[in-house]
Amino acid sequence: MNIFQDANRTQIAGRRRTDWLLHILFVVATSIGVIALCALIVDILIDGIARLQPDLFTNFPSRRAEGSGMKSALVGTIYMLLIMAPISFIFGVGAAIYLEEYAKKGKITRLIQLNISTLAGVPSIVYGILGLALFVRLLALDRSLIAGALTMTLLVLPIIIVSAQEAIRAVPKSRRDASFALGATKWQTVYRSVLPSALPGVLTGVILAMSRAIGETAPLVMIGALTYVAFLPEGLKDSFTVIPIQVYNWLSKPKVEFQELAASGIIVLLALLLLMNFSAILLRNKYQKNV
């Protein structure tokens, strides 16, 4: 009897040890991701912090690293956001409202829904190809600010639609019933009751989609956002550059000084992203308190 108990005990101890070992292993595996993020941030800060001077924001890029800046890229990014945000908001939220409030459950709706989730998985460079063929060539917008902004709008639309749909779905049915009971039409209900209630969630999604857009490089390289722009775009049809493309341009130059400039450009980009994500989190928290 005693022998069996001993055997049992060693077996249990062994299983416990495996459990403990694997626990350690899982913690290590999880921390690798975290460590990689820290290494990335530290690496960039070390390389780029010295170049983070007023010159970077007030000067145009130049062939010499000394005094080279990213004024045109910074302005280009901001302009693109300003054009893209309202267009993608209207179309994205419009599509979400249609799918959640109006669409009848049927084949067409399922097709649209499936199509949106498939579009979200299309590589961003393919949007660049579409932008090149559709906006740059077919609509003859050339390599302009508006062509870039429209391409990016198509890229972020699926993200905005999905998040807006979630926000609208979260609005309780009682709110709609109350509005109908007061004699409101469908559209009045949607516009005056559902939408205001879903707005914080919708805006959070839009901000996150915008932060995805300002980090994208590949589609804009495709449609030919110039890498060397020594002027500020003044109209929709002017050529432009954005921060990630300026960074890519610096990164592809072998000199160490340009690598440092790239790192400082990245710091600016990450700071901008942090700001946007932070405001999205603030919005979300406020929203959660209200419900």
Partner: protein, 316 residues
Amino acid sequence: MQSEGLQSIDQAQTVNKELYEFKNKRVSIMNKLMPVVLFLCASVSVLTTIGIVFTLITETYQFFKQIPILDFLFGTKWSPLIPPKSFGVLPLLSGTLMITFIACLVAIPLGLASAIYLSEYAPKRVRKIIKPILEVLAGVPTIVYGYFALSLVTPLIQSLFDSAGVFNALSAGIVVGIMIIPMVSSLSEDAMSAVPRSLRDGAYALGATRFEVALKIVVPAAFSGIVASAVLAFSRAIGETMIVTVAAGSTPNMTVNPLDSIQTMTAYIVQVSLGDTPHGSIEYGSIFAVGMTLFVITFLLNILAQYIARKFREEY
């Protein structure tokens, strides 16, 4: 006096009624018009897909008029800019697959382990901190990862292997892998969290350890979700552009040595569009043919992932 008063009341009523009808009319017009407008918004997404497919097909068709499709699909030499020109896509495909393979080797074990840790082991407090950090990893722009690969990972690899060049597939692959960790971990964790509590409780009641519960109960129950996340990560790695453009080089190369410089399909598209290729030239057509290949592969993988997630889901 009195009749005048009555008249003005009458007038007031008609005015009021007209106003009411006018307002009512506007409300009802809006009510009828808006669904149409909103439907148009929703159809933009369908038009995007049609646009993508149409563009790729027409331009690729033009390209295949000049280069036979079989030469493109099975040719082993890719030399689009330097004569003798040759358009065999296999070197680009093999480069892409090598990057993707390395990335999955990094991301799937690490992502899955993170998912198991977060869903089965981690205390709530730790989970609340780790999860957002991993999500940040997914939000970092790819050009930043490109910098990371070039300035930190490549020197590290070069110090380990003498034969590694400045541009090599290994460095780019590892960094793409790091980028898709959060995708694997968060999608797998969602699948694991959906496994009902009662299954775990049953196993614990039989004396199973946490690892045994994770391996024998939770992972099999969430298997479809885990496989789907892996397929999606694979597809994401194939479409990744900036990291490979910056760190993997631009030499189309059919090699199995990860320390060599290679070129992926995405990096080729970027290379051509950076140069000034005239519209209608054969190089210009080649980016559509390569883009079409890329689109078809990722599209099929995404459909496969959705199919797996739906078809093999265990219902509880």
